[in-house]
Structure formats: C-alpha cells, structure tokens
Amino acid sequence: MRNRLVVQLVDFDLAAEYRRLCELDGAVGAVVTFCGLVRDCEQQAPIDSLTLQHYPGMTEASLGDIVASADRRWPLHGITIIHRVGELLPRDQIVFVGVASGHRAAAFQAADYLMDYLKTRAMFWKNVAHGGERQWVDCKDSDRQAAHRWSQDPKRQ
C-alpha cells in the first residue's frame, strides 16, 4: 500500500507514519512531513477548542483525487494524508501530510501541493470556540492564491 489516506477522530503518531514512508522502498532518499497543529490563539484571542466537520464519503473521495494528481505530477514512492475530525484542543495535531521520494525537490513540492489542496478542496470545515462562542472559520484568500500557483505553472521546479 503505497498511499494511505485517513479521516479519523483519534490522534496520529508522526514517528510511525514517517517509518512507513521510509520503509516503502530502498530508493527513498527524501521524506517530507507536514503537521498542522491547533494554535492556542486566533486573531489574538485565546481559543477553547476547534471542531472539524467533514462530509463522510465525499471527503475521502476528494483526498483520493488530490493524491492521484500529486502522483501524476511527481515521481513519488508514497503519500500519507491523515486528517482529524471532531473536537480538538489547543496544541492538538490536526493534519499530517507525508511524502517519500527519491529526491528532495519532488518531496517538498508534493507536500506543499497536497496541503494547498487540502486547504481549498477537501471537504472539511473548521469551527472555533472562543470564550463560550462558536464561529465558523472563514476561508483565506491566501489559501486560494497558494492553491492557484499549481495551475498557473505546471512545470514549476
């Protein structure tokens, strides 16, 4: 199983995920991991918790599409995406993206690409609780612009 895509309530273990990617092939020379964490403040206000909603079934399909497009674009040995849902506390891990490749450029670019697409296309919605109030997080223009990079310049090295 080269690629591993999971949406789960429970936490994940970076070390175990990294080990899986390293062991996929003796030709793996570069492993890039990204972990997203719940920050303790948003816009200077301390947060109580972050709740992630998703669209079961559709989320997994969108992750499959994202991973397939990264696999077409770069020579990769394996990809892992783990996205948590449910209620998370400050400093909890939210998302893991790991990419194993022969060389570093492909691993960095694919991980960056996967995160941009997770931010803008995968079916997740964040709701933040601050001092008893709950608020849906707005999507950021910077995320849309970041994702747009990949359609503008397919040969970016």
Partner: protein, 82 residues
C-alpha cells in the same frame, strides 16, 4: 424525496433548514435553492453567496443539474480544512 445536507455555517441551527425536499419533474439544484430561499430567507441569502458549491450524490455539480428522486443534495460553503 431528495435528501438535503448543509455543511459548515449553512448547517447552523439558526437557519432551521429542512432535511428533505420533494422531488419533481425537471427539478434542478438551483430550483431547490430558489424554493428554500422563499421559505427560509436567511438561509437563502447564505445559499446564494457566490462561493457556495453544490454536490449531488457526493460529486460537485453545476446548479442546473437535474435531480433524480432519492439523490443526496449537499450545499457546501468554502472549505477550511488542513
């Protein structure tokens, strides 16, 4: 019947959106949105925001997509995962 799903802020209890919608010949996703806007004006304003997408049976579609009885219609505000 068509099953309705509202995600993110569109699913907030304040909108009190219905869970199903009666199927009819020639009905489209846009038609459901129009009907919901008449019955629930606040929800309607949120559904008409330009970044809201619509999916039928978990595939994003055009608003003019015809709807078959028994399908699952979901209204999707801009995602904020990752």
């Amino acid at each position: 019947m068509i099953k309705l799903l509202f995600f993110g802020r569109l699913g907030d209890a304040t909108y009190a959106a219905p869970e199903v919608f009666e199927a009819s010949v020639g009905l489209t996703a846009a038609g459901v949105r129009d009907a919901l806007s008449s019955l629930y004006p606040a929800l309607g304003r949120a559904l008409f925001e330009p970044q809201v997408l619509v999916s039928v049976d978990r595939v994003i579609v055009d608003w003019q997509q015809p709807l078959l009885d028994g399908c699952e219609l979901a209204f999707l505000p801009p995602v904020t995962g990752g």
